[in-house]
Amino acid sequence: MNTSALYRALALTAWIAGAFSLLVGGILVYEHVEAATRDPWKSPQMLALMEKLAAEPKNEALQNEIRQLDLKVRRDFRRRLALDKSGGWLLLGGALVLALAAGNAAALSKAPPLPQPKSDAAGQSLRLASHARWSLAGVGLVVAGSLLIARLGNPSLLPASEAGWQKLAVQPDATPAPAEDVPVRSEFETNWPRFRGWDGSGAVAWDLKGTPGVLWQCAVPAPGHSSPVVWGDRVFISGGKADRREVFCYNAASGGLLWRRAIENVPGSPSKAGDIPEDTGYAAPTMATDGQRVYAMFGNGDLGALNLDGTVAWTKYLGPFKNSYGYAASLAVWGNNLVAQMDSGDTRAEGSKLISLQGASGRVMWERSRPVPASWATPIVVEAAGRRQVITLANPWIIAYALEGGQELWRAQLLENEVVPSPVFAGGLIFALSPGSKLMALRPDGAGDVSKSHMAWASEENVPDIASPVANGEFVFTVTSGGEATCFEARGGKKDWETNLDMEVQSSPALMGGRLLILGGKGALVTLEAGRECRELGRIQLPDKFTASPAFANGRIYLRGATNLYCLGPAEAQTAKPR
């Protein structure tokens, strides 16, 4: 060991440099680890403060708090960058000084080479070679073993063989079904393929002569608030409870049950759903159909697609929904695209989204996040201003998306409270209810934020909070939960008449030709004239409770009550007593 002064100096330098490097390295590592766990840009504290500010926008103290926090976050970020930069250089410098000092010290203290006689050089070299060969054999085994482990640890879900790939290629893909299978537009219009009809307006142009009478009724085995949908000679209803959720198909002419199918074993769906409020239940969303399949959404997030003969086409789990009243928005359908509005949460940043699925396969075509909390309105798809628009309502935004691709077209910040009523489109205007606040008419030809520019008119009279409005090109009708029906002029918004029907109403009103139909919660079906003057044309009493809205198809009205499904038609068609 060389104890010269130079050696001691070098050794000391090496130790100091080593300690220094260790210190700097330790600081960098600690700060690195700490920063990795706290992402400054997603600070939950900041999110919480912003939510509070949204509730009280004028709170100056809150604003200041946010600004202070933001400044702190930014300062810390800059400091960390500077620390990393200078720390890196310092560490490098320290390490180099350490290396050089230690290297030179080692060189100084190196003993001169004193080769010793080697006894069995040949034998030794042969032994070394033999060891090397065995170790190479070991390496071979290790490599083979690693390949095996790599193979087992990364199982592939893709097909292994050529045949498997061929099979995959044959499966239905994103290309749309052949044109002749997609029902034409007129078929959609004559059937009732979704909540409030093919365009969500709740209106049909034809009318029955005289007061309708019950043609048949049959029991619906499972509870739900969903309205019936009709295609061709079939009526579809969904219903269910926590243990079983089903779709029922009835003969539209006679009311016989054709089939019932449970939607179960949906991949990804937890066996025990979250808390689904009893009042709303599992089957609040109304089904949809595109003439090739029927689709049913349930409150726990199960979405099932069934062929018209009752076999399951596909199922998908879209939940869980975080919804205080329970998920209730119905499905929208256009062509073979399904649109589902999945708003959830109590705040505006909890993952609300609008998704579009391909009906044939359930593949998600696009999804868009929405800056809204939970809502209960159903979107409508309309052709307006030269585009196919999906109109959605939630607090506080009315947002229109392009049906193909999902780009936002326009939005308006005009809604308040818990948005339950769905929008309607008639006479070139979109009518939307801000519950308890306003009935609004908007022009759908805007772009960007049209809150201030595209509202044609608004009225604050008798604004409902549950039932959606109904409109033809001339009039807009609303019904409050207490039974007040109001008629407005579609252009201009002048109130023409209002009347109190003195009954609880949860169903949405409907227009049949020139008649307005309002279905009361206790079973009264009231018909009024859809004109400038208020005239009650008739009233029939059904022995059931109703929350679902009527469906109209092929000259028949279908009503889903708490116990039965009813089919109403012209009184002449009542051949036999109701079953």
Binding site: P40, W41, M50, L53, A54, P57, Q63, I66, R67, D70, L71, V73, R74, F77, L81, D84, K85, P371, P396, Q407, E408, R411, Q413, G448, D449
Partner: protein, 190 residues
């Protein structure tokens, strides 16, 4: 004392083999180099983002090998609407139309808002502050004209052989472009 080894050794078998191997190797390398050089480009390639494919996911801020990402937001002024309520600058429902922290989308306050004339405001990016997180790009593309977009800044980019961000881009928006034309700028809204 010892003479150096004689200047010209007779060619041993080993040397002959070595010469042969060398010649073969040189020829092979030359052929490979020639074949590749025939379609070689001069200036080389640099990485760039195609704004049409960018999905503004935020990976550019976190995946770059550099601590401060080489990707920054760029503003195509010709496409900008100069709106008072810029959806790339403000949240969709800003508290007020001021530059206060609670109203701004940019987490590092890298966008400067300057009044031009009524009702137009100019928005410009301070690159020393921008981290490339694409929040402003998302707001501008979704609700506005889409004049804000991300680009790789070549005075910062190290031009790695394999770009770490390109590997993780969900839109596959990164591609190699010639170094002579290193930017893919937006000139129209879509």
């Amino acid at each position: 004392m010892d003479a150096k080894p004689p200047a010209h050794d007779p060619l041993t078998r080993r040397q002959f083999l070595g010469n042969g191997a060398r010649l073969l190797a040189m020829t092979g390398l030359g052929a490979a180099a020639g074949a590749l050089a025939s379609r070689a480009s001069g200036a080389g390639w640099v990485w760039q983002i195609d704004p049409a494919k960018c999905l503004h996911c935020g990976n550019c801020a976190t995946q770059c090998v550099l601590e401060q990402s080489a990707v920054k937001c760029v503003h195509a002024y010709a496409v900008c609407g100069y709106c008072q309520l810029c959806t790339g600058f403000f949240w969709p429902e800003p508290n007020q139309l001021t530059t206060a922290a609670e109203n701004q989308v940019c987490p590092t306050a890298a966008i400067r808002r300057r009044y031009v004339e009524d009702p137009y405001y100019q928005y410009s990016i301070d690159e020393t502050l921008c981290i490339g997180c694409a929040k402003c790009v998302e707001g501008c593309t979704r609700f506005g004209n889409g004049s804000l977009f991300l680009q790789v800044r070549h005075d910062r980019c190290l031009h790695c052989n394999e770009c770490a961000i390109a590997r993780t881009c969900p839109g596959e928006a990164f591609r190699r472009v010639p170094a002579g034309q290193p930017y893919l700028l937006k000139t129209t809204s879509r």
